[in-house]
């Protein structure tokens, strides 16, 4: 792989005595879509949240875009802000700001983080609302929107800062299946546009269709990875076979 846009080396994350992520290394190419799957408690979300330092690894090296950080000493505030500006994150619970309109949710971070003028930010916001098919909701408050609409706004809010990589933390897990579909459809368009995406998900069908690579985690480690047809259809490990069989039986 030439020049990965995201590169993790020897990442360890501990909560007290619990070793949540164990010596994980991972390279992701520009434009690649990676699905991270595995049983709950496997450390998928924890690893994802280390990429923008919402979780603080105890050791390892983190490279995102133009930045490379050694994690054995605390990062400075400036480095942290720069890292987070180059990543966008979408959460399971959407986390829109309830006291702001949809437009302000998307425009305010652009003004404060990138220093865009209000006019410029609102122009970008309008374009992104078109892209997530919610142009008519600019003046609505989040509480008036469905979960699927809120999540699409959250995607637009993250995209507005022109991230180099988008991190999705179980983006459809809090949604009814049909509302999840509209979110997945926006994510599919995003992948087709060439966005680098790392998606923690239980949506195996989505992973099979959209992901370039599927990563299976268990007990804080990557136990299997490869193209979806190989990992999902013909997993090599008994543990992975059992995991996918359990998921397929639920559908």
């Amino acid at each position: 792989m030439t020049d990965p846009i995201v590169s993790l080396k020897g990442i360890n994350i501990r909560y007290g005595t619990h070793h949540a992520v164990r010596d994980v290394s991972l390279d992701i190419a520009k434009g690649e879509v990676v699905a991270m799957v595995g049983p709950s408690g496997a450390g998928k979300s924890t690893l994802l949240r280390a990429i923008n330092m919402l979780e603080t690894p105890a050791s390892g090296t983190l490279h995102v875009g133009d930045f490379t950080f050694a994690l054995d000493r605390p990062l400075g505030q400036k480095d942290l802000l720069a890292l987070r500006r180059s990543t966008g994150m979408v959460f399971q619970q959407f986390n829109l700001f309830p006291h702001m309109t949809v437009q302000r949710n998307i425009s305010l971070p652009q003004m404060r983080v990138l220093g865009r003028s209000r006019e410029e930010a609102d122009r970008v916001t309008a374009r992104l609302l078109e892209r997530v098919h919610l142009a008519d909701k600019a003046q609505a408050y989040p509480a008036r929107l469905s979960g699927g609409q809120q999540q699409r706004i959250a995607i637009a809010r993250a995209l507005a800062l022109d991230p180099q990589v988008m991190l999705f933390d179980e983006p459809t897990s809090a949604l009814d299946p049909e509302l999840g579909l509209e979110v997945l459809s926006v994510m599919r368009e995003l992948a087709a546009d060439g966005m680098t995406m790392i998606v923690v998900t239980h949506e195996i069908a989505f992973a099979a269709e959209v992901a370039d690579r599927v990563i299976v985690m268990a007990d804080g480690q990557i136990i299997e990875e490869g193209p979806p047809e190989q990992v999902i259809r013909n997993p090599s490990l008994p543990r992975t076979q059992k995991f996918f069989r359990a998921i397929l039986e639920r559908h």
Binding site: L54, Q77, F97, H99, R112, V113, Y141, A143
Partner: protein, 213 residues
């Protein structure tokens, strides 16, 4: 009785001024206090904790005596009005900091995480994301506190502030007994607190209607 009541009205501006100044001072000083209380480092947390416990643990009348006769006889000279406003303001800061802290506890954890992930600075997160939401849930308890502050400022008369309570005491002494002045004061304080309660309810309802969740 009506004469007594009307005479007490002359004390209303002073009572309201002490209450208003103390509340404003407390609302402002409560902000750094709650931030210290929630700091990552233990030292500011401990200092804020000590301040809050001391401010709330000592009766207001004792505070006013300490500030007026203690501080006032030393370096700076304070009028009774200044001493009462300052003293009640310093006490209010402790109560309001605790109200703000309760507001922070009601915020979903994801709100700050989302703002962090967007790359917003600590100050921006507080100013644009956290504080407006904390303030919103703090309005009803702040209004309740304001009403009780209005009543608690009656201790200002003990250091010579010419508020409603001072006039009540004078009227009662002049009348040589009888409880008409006290009944008048009771009615007056109820009348003063009703608008505050109504206003708070209206503000709360308006904010809630817009962002209900």
């Amino acid at each position: 009785m009506l004469d007594t009541f009307l005479a007490l009205l002359h004390g209303v501006p002073v009572s309201l001024a002490v209450t208003g100044l103390a509340f404003a001072l407390g609302a402002v000083l409560g902000v750094p206090l709650v931030l210290m209380r929630r700091a990552g480092h233990w030292l500011p947390r401990l200092l804020a904790r000590i301040y809050i416990e001391i401010a709330r643990g000592i009766p207001p009348v004792v505070w006013l005596f300490i500030i007026f006769f203690g501080l006032g006889s030393g370096i700076v000279t304070l009028t009774p009005f200044q001493a009462a406003s300052l003293g009640m303001g310093l006490i209010s800061a402790a109560y309001l900091a605790e109200i703000y802290r309760g507001g922070f506890l009601t915020l979903p954890a994801g709100q700050d995480a989302a703002a962090v992930a967007l790359g917003m600075t600590r100050l921006d997160r507080l100013r644009f994301v956290l504080a407006p939401q904390v303030l919103r849930v703090s309005i009803p308890p702040m209004a309740t506190f304001l009403v009780s502050l209005l009543k608690d400022t009656t201790v200002a008369s003990t250091i010579g502030v010419r508020d409603v309570m001072m006039l009540v005491t004078q009227q009662a002494q002049a009348a040589g007994g009888g409880f008409a002045p006290f009944i008048s004061a009771a009615v007056l304080y109820i009348l003063l607190s009703i608008p505050v309660a109504l206003l708070a309810r209206k503000m709360d309802a308006r904010l809630r209607a817009r962002t209900s969740r």
